[in-house]
C-alpha cells in the first residue's frame, strides 16, 4: 500500500533521514522503532506532507505522493494521528469530531463513524460536550484516535500513541489499534515503547540516526539480540 524508497529529509544542514526504504503492505501493522532523534517522527511527517523531503519516492497505492500538501493526502485516505495528540482544546469532544469530518461531506457517514467512535470509546460519549482541553491525557489520545476514525482513510500513521500514558491506558490504546486494523485499515506505527509495539505489529523496521540497519517480521526483530540490547533493555 505504501512504498517508501530512498527517502531523504534534511533540516538545514542536518540530514535527518539519509535515504531510507520500507514498505507497508495492505491491512498490516508496520512499526518503526528507534531511539530519540532517530528520525521516526520525521519519517511520518514527511509521508503525511507536513514537511518537505529532498529526495526519494513515496508511493501510496501506486501513486507518487512525495511533497503533496497534507490536506490533499487526507483526501487520498492518509490519516496522521500526531505526536502529542494535538486536539482542539477549546472545542468540545463532539466539535473535535465534527472538525475531523472536514473532508466528509456525507452526513449519514459522519453519524455512523461518530457512533463507531463512541462504541469504541464509551468514555468519549460520556464526555462529548466537554472541552477537549479538559480531558485527561488518555482521553485526549482516545479523541485523537477517534478523530482519525471520523476522518476515515484506510491508512493511519500513529506517532507515539502511548506517550505520557499509564501502562493500563497504553494497553487500551494498543488494543484499539488492533481493532482499527481489524476494520480494514493499514497502520504505520511509530513507538518508543518498542516491546509493546513489536507485540502488535506484523513487521518492524529499526531506525537509527536516519538509516535502517535491521528490518524483519516483528517477532524476529523482537528476538534479535542487538535489538534486545539496544531497544528492549533485556
Amino acid at each position: 500500500m505504501l512504498v517508501v524508497e530512498n527517502l531523504q529529509v534534511s533540516y538545514g544542514q542536518i540530514k535527518a533521514l539519509k535515504g531510507i526504504s520500507f514498505e507497508v503492505p495492505q491491512n498490516k501493522i508496520v512499526t518503526l522503532i528507534g531511539s530519540n532523534g532517530a528520525g521516526k517522527s520525521t519519517t511520518l511527517r514527511s509521508i503525511s506532507g507536513l514537511i518537505k523531503s529532498q529526495a526519494g519516492s513515496i508511493k501510496f497505492n501506486g501513486k507518487e505522493i512525495r511533497n503533496l500538501p497534507a490536506h490533499e493526502l487526507v483526501k487520498l485516505g492518509m490519516n496522521h494521528v500526531p505526536e502529542g495528540r494535538k486536539i482542539f482544546a477549546t472545542l468540545t469532544v463532539y466539535e473535535n469530531l465534527e472538525m475531523a469530518a472536514w473532508t466528509v461531506k456525507n452526513k449519514k457517514l459522519f453519524k455512523e463513524r461518530v457512533d463507531e467512535v463512541f462504541e469504541l470509546f464509551p468514555r468519549l460519549k460520556e464526555r462529548r460536550n466537554q472541552l477537549g482541553g479538559t480531558l485527561s491525557g488518555g482521553e485526549q489520545q482516545m479523541l485523537a484516535v477517534g478523530r482519525a476514525i471520523v476522518t476515515g482513510g484506510n491508512f493511519i500513521l500513529f506517532d507515539e500513541p502511548s506517550m505520557g500514558l499509564s501502562p493500563l491506558l497504553v494497553d487500551e490504546i494498543f488494543a484499539t489499534i488492533i481493532k482499527i486494523r481489524e476494520r480494514g485499515a493499514t497502520i504505520l506505527l511509530v513507538e518508543q515503547n518498542a516491546k509493546q509495539a513489536l507485540e502488535i505489529s506484523d513487521y518492524a523496521y529499526v531506525l537509527e540516526v536516519g538509516t535502517i540497519p535491521f528490518h524483519g517480521p516483528a517477532c524476529d526483530i523482537a528476538a534479535n539480540p542487538k535489538v534486545k540490547e539496544a531497544y528492549l533493555g533485556i
Partner: protein, 349 residues
C-alpha cells in the same frame, strides 16, 4: 454544517432593525440639535473604526495570525479610491451650481471604493504569503514593515500629493453612507465567521497542525483571511478619505494601526461584538478626553493641557487590560449575531 442564510433569519432582521433604529435616533438627535455635527463626526469615525477593527479581528482574532500593519491596507484603499474620484473622474457629491445630488458622482464613488477594496485585497493576498512561513512576533514585524513601506511609497508619489497628501477629496462619505457600508461589512464578516469556511479559520487559530491533518487547506485559508481583511480595511480607508477630504501619509502610520489593534484586543479576540463596542468606546474616549480633561482641570483650579490627553488615554487602556483580562467580550457574541442553530454550541445529545 448546513446553516440558514443569515440575511433571512429572524435574528438578522432584528439586528438590522436595531441598527437602523439607532441610525434614525442619531439622525433625529442631529436634526433637533441635541447631537452637534461634532458628535456626528465622531460617530462617523467610530463606524469607520468598526470596519477596521472587525476586519483586523478576522485576521488576528479568528484566524490567529498577527498583523499590525492594518492601516497600510486602509492607505491603499484610501489613495486608490481618492485618486479615482479626485484626480481621474473629478466628481463631486452635488451637481455644480445647484443643490442637486450628483447620482453619477455617487456611482463613481461606490465603484472607486470597491476598487480601493479590491486593490487592498490584492496587497493583502501578497502579504498573506509570509504568514505561511512566519508566526507570531516575526509575522508582526513583516506586517509592520509592510505598513511603513506603503506609507513611504505614497509619501514619494508626486501624482497623489507626496508628503503634502492628496487634498480636495470630495466629501462623499456621510453618516448614512458610512452606516450602510459598516453594517454590510459587519454582516459579511459575521456570515463568513459562522460559515463552514469560518470554522476552518477558527481551527487554524486553535491548532494549525491538527486542522491540516483533518484536511483543512491551511495555506488557502490563511491567505483568504488576509485578503478579505485587507479588502474591508481598504473600504474603510476609502470611506475615511472621503469623510476627512484628505489622504495624508501620516494618517496611516504605525500608531493608528496599533490603535485598531487595541480595539481588537480590548473588545476581545474573536468577538465581532467586542470589536464594535471597543471601536466606539475608544474613539469616544479619545475625543471625550479633549473636553473632559480641561473641564476636570477647571474644577481643580489647575490647567490640564491637551498634551495630557494621550497620557490619560494610555493609562485608561492599561487599566482596562489589567482589570478585565477577559476584556470586554472575551470570545462571546451578542445573541443577535449568533445563528440560532449555534446556540447550543457543540452540544450533542
Amino acid at each position: 454544517m448546513g446553516k440558514k442564510i443569515f440575511f433571512i433569519s429572524r435574528r438578522m432582521l432584528l439586528f438590522v432593525a436595531g441598527a437602523l433604529g439607532m441610525l434614525l435616533l442619531v439622525l433625529f438627535f442631529n436634526a433637533t440639535g441635541i447631537f452637534t455635527d461634532y458628535i456626528v463626526q465622531i460617530i462617523n469615525i467610530s463606524l469607520i473604526n468598526v470596519i477596521l477593527a472587525v476586519s483586523l479581528n478576522l485576521i488576528n482574532g479568528f484566524t490567529g495570525q498577527f498583523s499590525i500593519g492594518h492601516m497600510g491596507f486602509a492607505a491603499v484603499g484610501a489613495y486608490t479610491s481618492a485618486t479615482v474620484t479626485t484626480l481621474i473622474a473629478k466628481v463631486t457629491p452635488r451637481l455644480p451650481y445647484t443643490e442637486f445630488i450628483n447620482i453619477n458622482g455617487y456611482i463613481v464613488f461606490i465603484l472607486a471604493l470597491l476598487l480601493g477594496g479590491i486593490v487592498a485585497a490584492g496587497i493583502g493576498f501578497l502579504i498573506g504569503f509570509p504568514s505561511l512561513r512566519l508566526k507570531g512576533d516575526y509575522l508582526a514585524i513583516i506586517t509592520l514593515g509592510f505598513g511603513e513601506i506603503i506609507r513611504t511609497i505614497f509619501n514619494n508619489i508626486d501624482y497623489v500629493g507626496g508628503p503634502r497628501g492628496l487634498l480636495g477629496i470630495p466629501k462623499f462619505s456621510n453618516l448614512i453612507m458610512i452606516f450602510v457600508i459598516t453594517l454590510l461589512s459587519v454582516i459579511a464578516i459575521r456570515n463568513l465567521v459562522f460559515s463552514t469556511h469560518g470554522r476552518a479559520l477558527l481551527s487554524i487559530r486553535e491548532n494549525e497542525l491538527a486542522s491540516e491533518l483533518v484536511g483543512v487547506n491551511t495555506v488557502r485559508y490563511k491567505i483568504t483571511a488576509f485578503t478579505i481583511g485587507a479588502f474591508f480595511a481598504g473600504i474603510a480607508g476609502g470611506l475615511q478619505a472621503h469623510l476627512l477630504q484628505i489622504a495624508h501619509p501620516t494618517q496611516y502610520g504605525f500608531l493608528y494601526s496599533i490603535l485598531v489593534l487595541i480595539m481588537v484586543y480590548a473588545g476581545g479576540m474573536g468577538s465581532i461584538t467586542g470589536s464594535i463596542i471597543a471601536a466606539f468606546a475608544l474613539t469616544f474616549l479619545s475625543e471625550g478626553l479633549r473636553t473632559a480633561l480641561p473641564g476636570l482641570g477647571d474644577l481643580m483650579h489647575v490647567k490640564i493641557g491637551d498634551e495630557w490627553r494621550m497620557v490619560v488615554y494610555s493609562l485608561l487602556l492599561i487599566i482596562i487590560m489589567l482589570f478585565r483580562t477577559e476584556v470586554l467580550m472575551g470570545m462571546r457574541e451578542m445573541k443577535l449575531l449568533v445563528p440560532e442553530e449555534e446556540e447550543h454550541h457543540g452540544q450533542h445529545a
